[in-house]
């Protein structure tokens, strides 16, 4: 890292680039099949184009307690 380590852990993570909406949003979709043996559901509707937002919302809905 170019800058000296910030005193606060939170600032350190932010400075490292974590907390950027882009990378975080995409990898959220990885949670769909986290365990081995979980059958991959056929791509729902075989979505054309990139629709991360709809994906994430749908996934979060399935994890609601």
């Amino acid at each position: 890292m170019k800058t000296p380590k910030p005193a606060s852990r939170r600032k350190f993570l932010l400075a490292a680039g974590l907390g950027g909406a882009g990378a975080a949003a995409v990898v959220a979709t990885a949670r769909k099949a986290a365990s081995p043996g979980t059958p991959e559901t056929a791509a729902a509707g075989a979505a054309e184009g990139y629709r991360v937002t709809a994906h994430i919302e749908k996934y979060y809905k399935t994890t609601e307690v």
Binding site: A16, L18, G19, A30, T63
Partner: protein, 209 residues
């Protein structure tokens, strides 16, 4: 993130700060890649991801951007073959997915025994389909400790750190190194680079305050 219902077992949900959510997502992605090869949808999503700022953690940014680029030219069938070649041959796989292998485990002190107990203490159940020290399972457990899930909220940092130092720190470094060096590794070389850089970042972050 998840909606509150009248019967929710937790008192309240605080929204996770974005940097903590991002940590959880990296654990999720790494676990996902170990448990199974990426499907076409996941490759597409990674390929569409924006780059990480190289002014942040340079190693992680470089590794992530390289993974993004690789995802855009990778197809799911090739990824599945690679995953198989790396991990699937029982007893002959070039890369072990089990933490015990990298921790010099003896039968008595095997991390499988300790992981099971630690997971239970954290309110998590190990997966029934795999030995408890499967690194996909360990990284998935970290995801839950960081971001919550499976009916529990995020764990305090001290608990995250204890689990990280017990199972992730000793095993993940050697594992990702072995993964990157293995002959069949191509796409997974980039996965290994992201894993190594992220775990190093985590170790440094836990050492602060």
């Amino acid at each position: 993130m998840s909606a509150q219902t009248a019967a929710a077992p937790l008192a309240f949900h605080r929204t996770l700060p974005p940097e903590e959510a991002a940590r959880g997502h990296f654990y999720a992605l790494l676990a996902r890649m170990l448990n199974a090869p990426p499907d076409a949808g996941l490759l597409r999503d990674i390929a569409s991801a924006p780059p990480l700022d190289p002014d942040g953690d340079a190693a992680l940014a470089q590794a992530w951007n390289s993974l993004v680029a690789a995802a855009s030219v990778m197809d799911a069938e090739a990824a599945a073959e690679e995953h198989d070649a790396l991990f699937a041959a029982p007893g002959k796989a070039p890369v072990s997915l089990y933490a015990g292998f990298y921790m010099g485990a003896t039968a008595v002190e095997h991390p499988r025994v300790r992981v099971r107990a630690d997971l239970a203490a954290l309110g998590l159940a190990p997966r029934s389909t795999e030995p408890e020290d499967h690194l996909g399972g360990i990284l998935e457990a970290m995801r839950v400790l960081v971001a919550g899930g499976g009916g529990r909220g995020p764990a305090p940092l001290a608990e995250q750190r204890r689990f990280f130092e017990a199972y992730v720190a000793p095993a993940a470094g050697p594992f990702f190194e072995a993964l990157g060096a293995a002959e069949p590794s191509n796409f997974y070389r980039r996965v290994a680079a992201v894993g190594a850089a992220f775990v190093a970042l985590e170790a440094e972050s836990f050492s602060l305050d």
